[in-house]
């Protein structure tokens, strides 16, 4: 293991967040050209991680970190091996292009600075996720990607569709995150290890554990939601509501691959079991087919690409689950290839949208002459996506067939699935890359022309990268594919495929795929019509299911609230008091803890009471009687004050001046405030409760009084523990320089408590203030805009 200079890596991990802080100010100063400056951040990150390449390619790993919560062995630590490094390079490398592209795409947008902020934070979260070693850090960054992607998807927050998509993504991926948290905690519990690097070295205690299935399901819950596996795929196409740079970034390098990253990361410890090798290919394969079929249905360029991302993720999960060395190598190659071509194609779609004003493939055509660079990039990426030479996608596809092919039923089935999926992706790739550029130029597109350099730079660079990684496959394998595949497999793996393919069956299968793809491409309109009819016939999908789920949740909450919070003060009060009485009396009665009752009249000896003490008690009693017989509320409030003052006097007499002082003021103020509040209500002069209700309330009151009396008696009969009193008496003056123990405790010994309490006082004040301020007009407005009112009625 190589340990790096911790402060540099930490700085690099924090850099995107720092940049996110200054991005808005910078954008205000420089406009969209701030992209050039901000792109330096991912460049720095890329450079930093690239320096690890030689070590990683030698099979070493880089670790480092700090103690975070030493008492729980929780560290802030990172661990970079082939898998992490490939991801980190993709995130930062594509990040450079995305930042630049954002500058071009959102040029002149009012909230460009905010956008840069969000996307840099997102970059930082994703980077932290792949670099994390400790479980807790991993989870924190995992959820951060959900939150930042929520901000990005909902960037155009004035559109309802955006908000819905953002919320949906957050609910699905955030909910999956909770599964993951539970899974990680279980792994932690079973193995006692809280770091991924140590877990990978620990052998297979997890696979042998009786809790393996639980861990497996929980981890899949996290991975499948994040990587949009069927039937949880619906949030991903909806996330297309985000601005195109976000889509390009989310789909090519980051968020949606986090789930695949997790599966690949845990493959050495969780994989190689029957459950793993069955469930993953089934879900992955289904996702692959469903994704491509849904993609065929779409006419929007971005949606077509989005659904193929779903299917690509399915393919990756399927390959990871298949689990052989060759399949893992194929998954690695495909992941890298996908990042390059999908990123480029999304940016192309954005360019077209930006220049032509529409993304609908049926409305586009003939842009080739106007946008030659974009067209070249699109074509190159589509060729890579279709798996044709001389691009990196070709290597990936050959390796997939090489890895999957076998004569048993299971490999045959998966190979078939891969052929269908790849063939349909071939169709989509070319549909995106060819349809907008060839054919008759529509008159409304006459103003379309090549975008500025910021727009076409990204796709062009990615297309070239796709080409050069394939041409110099020896180098790319040495530094990227082999270390990554070895990390996923947990043992050294060799990848040697180049533009010279695996002659034999894989090449033949490629031929079949291409033939199938061409036939399907020529019939794409017919296919689309069939799919459209089919979807209409089904009429329901997980997307609608999500809405129904949320709606059901809200309705369920309403019906529970209706029972638990009926909105009648009397009922609340009655229930509260009854519960309090039960809570006090039940333990006393059932555990025989009733206090010894004083015997009257000798204990306590009444005749020993001083006259003024009796007088105060009499005042309290008078106050009480006055409350009961008060004929309007104001009188009752003031009479209750009498009783409170009497109690305050008692405190004074028995040596608690501070308490009594406070009690006086609280009584005064509560009388004043209650009187003020009551004058706003209708002061009905008389009690309108029916007689039976009155007796019920009286019984409750009597029981309450009795219960409190018993409790106070019991408390005073306990032996009094003087430890704290002695401590405070001893140290109050010498440590805190104050003679008034009460105040010293409040502001010094337990100052942090008081600090919290005044915070509560202030928040309570704000809350009351806002309650008072709700006037009738506002209340009517709120009632009129209640979205669920009709359903409740």
């Amino acid at each position: 293991m190589v340990s790096d200079t911790p402060s540099t890596t930490l700085f690099v991990l924090l850099l995107p967040f720092i940049a996110a802080l200054i991005a808005p100010a910078l954008t205000r100063r420089l406009g969209h050209n701030a992209a050039w400056v901000l792109a330096l951040v991912p460049v720095t990150i890329f450079w930093h991680f690239a320096t690890f390449l030689p070590e990683i390619s030698r099979g070493e790993v880089v670790t480092g970190g700090f103690q975070w919560i030493p008492a729980f062995q929780v560290n802030f630590s990172w661990f970079i091996d082939g898998l992490s490094l490939t991801f980190a390079l993709l995130i930062s490398g594509i990040g450079v292009l995305i930042v630049l592209y954002s500058g071009g795409y959102l040029k002149g947008h009012a909230h460009l600075g905010r956008f840069f902020s969000f996307i840099l934070m997102f970059m930082g979260s994703m980077l932290g996720l792949v670099a994390s070693d400790s479980f807790l850090m991993f989870f924190v960054f995992w959820e951060l990607t959900s939150i930042t992607s929520f901000l990005l998807i909902g960037f155009d927050h004035k559109r309802e569709a955006s908000r819905r998509a953002a919320l949906q993504a957050l609910v699905v991926t955030g909910g999956g995150g909770l599964f993951l948290l539970a899974g990680l905690l279980m792994i932690w519990n079973i193995t006692g290890i809280s770091e991924l690097s140590l877990l990978l070295l620990s052998g297979s205690p997890l696979a042998d554990s009786p809790f393996y299935i639980a861990v497996f399901v929980l981890v899949l819950g996290g991975a499948f939601t994040k990587s949009a596996q069927f039937p949880l795929h619906f949030w991903l196409p909806n996330a297309m509501e985000a601005p195109t740079p976000v889509s390009a970034y989310l789909h090519s390098a980051t968020m949606v691959k986090a789930g695949v990253y997790l599966l690949m990361r845990l493959n050495p410890v969780l994989g190689d079991t029957v459950a793993w090798e069955t469930v993953l290919p089934i879900f992955g394969g289904t996702t692959l087919i469903v994704g491509t079929l849904l993609a065929i249905r779409q006419t929007d360029l971005k949606l077509m690409l989005a659904y193929t991302t779903v299917s690509s993720l399915g393919l990756l999960v399927m390959l990871t689950g298949f689990g052989t060395e060759k399949a893992i190598a194929a998954a690695v190659l495909y992941l890298v290839a996908h990042s390059m071509f999908k990123g480029a194609l999304f940016m192309v779609a954005g360019c077209i949208d930006h220049e032509a004003g529409t993304r609908d493939v049926t409305k586009l055509g003939g842009l080739m002459a106007a946008m030659p660079i974009t067209f070249a990039a699109a074509l190159a990426s589509a060729v890579s996506m279709a798996g044709l030479p001389p691009f990196f996608g070709f290597l990936a596809k050959e390796e997939i067939y090489y890895g999957l092919w076998g004569v048993d039923a299971w490999p045959l089935l998966l190979t078939l699935v891969a052929i269908v999926g790849n063939g349909l992706m071939f169709v989509i790739g070319f549909a995106v890359a060819l349809k907008p550029f060839f054919g008759q130029k529509k008159p409304e597109l006459s103003h379309a022309h090549e975008g500025p350099v910021l727009l076409w730079l990204g796709p062009a660079v990615l297309a070239l990268a796709s080409l050069f990684t394939a041409l110099f496959s020896g180098v790319s394998h040495e530094f990227i594919s082999i270390p990554m595949a070895s990390a996923v497999q947990g043992e050294p793996v060799s990848v040697y495929i180049s533009l010279i393919p695996h002659i034999g069956m894989p090449l033949l299968l490629s031929g079949v795929t291409v033939a199938f793809g061409i036939v399907a491409y020529l019939n794409v309109d017919r296919l689309r019509a069939v799919m459209a009819r089919l979807l209409v016939a089904i009429g329901w999908g997980p997307d609608r299911g999500f809405d129904q789920f949320i709606r059901g949740l809200v309705l369920a909450s309403f019906s529970i609230t209706k029972v638990a919070q009926p909105g009648r003060m009397e009922i609340y009060m009655r229930v509260t008091f009854i519960l309090v009485i039960i809570a006090i009396l039940a333990p006393m009665i059932f555990f025989g803890e009733l206090p010894a009752l004083p015997t009257w009249p000798s204990d306590p000896p009444f005749y020993e009471l001083a006259v003024y003490e009796l007088a105060i008690m009499a005042i309290a009693a008078v106050g009480l009687v006055a409350v009961i017989y008060a004929n309007n509320r104001l009188t009752a409030i003031v009479s209750l004050g009498i009783q409170g003052f009497a109690v305050a006097l008692l405190f004074m007499l028995f040596g608690a001046p501070d308490l009594s002082f406070t009690q006086f003021m609280v009584e005064t103020l509560s009388v004043v405030i209650l009187a003020l509040a009551m004058t706003r209500l209708k002061l009905t002069p008389a009690d309108h409760r029916p007689v039976g209700r009155r007796y019920l309330d009286m019984t409750i009151a009597c029981f309450g009084a009795g219960a409190f009396m018993l409790m106070l008696l019991k408390v005073t009969q306990q032996p009094f523990d003087l430890t704290l009193s002695e401590f405070f008496t001893t140290y109050s003056l010498s440590v805190a320089y104050g003679a008034n123990i009460v105040n010293v405790i409040l502001v010094d010994f337990r100052g942090t408590d008081t600090w919290g309490e005044i915070g509560v006082v202030m928040v309570a004040g704000l809350a009351i203030l806002s309650l008072i301020r709700i006037n009738k007009r506002r209340a009517a407005y709120i009632a009129a805009n209640d979205p669920y009112q009709e359903e409740r009625e």
Binding site: P657, D658, F661, T662, M665, V666, T668, L669, V672, I673, L676, A677, R680, A736, Y737, G738, A739, N740, V742, N743, V744, L746, V747, D748, G751, T752, T754, W755, I758, G759, V761, M762, A764, G765, L766, I768, L769, I772, R773, N775, K776
Partner: protein, 139 residues
């Protein structure tokens, strides 16, 4: 409640109460008193003034919104706690300074600052509730 006697007495009564509340606040470390009770006294003073003479004179006299005073108090208390971190001792540790002034020695401390913070939070919050209740905006 706006009787002539009450209205005449209220300003004097309120000013005395505010003065008294500051006295109670400052003596709190050694004698019965302190920020909380001082704050309650001052809040009652404003409430009484408001009941007697109406809300707007109180608001004018306070100059700042009571909630703003409350927020300033919370900030003050937080600063009193944070100062100790910069002095290299745990959060909320009291620091004492002895300043010679007026021929005697003034004992200043972050604890006092904290107590003043408590005072302001209580004054602000309770006063704003009382004043809002007195205002009766909606009718």
């Amino acid at each position: 409640m706006r009787t002539l006697i009450f209205r005449t007495v209220a300003p004097y009564l309120s000013s005395l109460m505010v003065l008294f509340s500051i006295f109670v606040l400052l003596r709190g470390h050694n004698e019965p008193g302190g920020g909380f009770i001082g704050g309650l006294i001052a809040a009652s003073a404003f409430a009484i003034y408001g009941v007697a003479c109406g809300v707007s004179p109180v608001r004018r006299a306070l100059h700042y919104h009571p909630m703003g005073i409350s927020g300033a108090g919370l900030l003050m208390a937080s600063i009193a706690g944070l100062v100790s971190i910069f002095a290299g001792v745990p959060f909320m540790t009291g620091l004492w300074f002895y300043v010679p002034a007026f021929g005697t020695e003034l004992k200043l401390s972050t604890v006092l600052l904290f107590d003043i913070g408590v005072y302001l939070v209580v004054v602000g919050s309770i006063t704003s509730i009382a004043l809002a209740l007195e205002e009766r905006t909606e009718d």
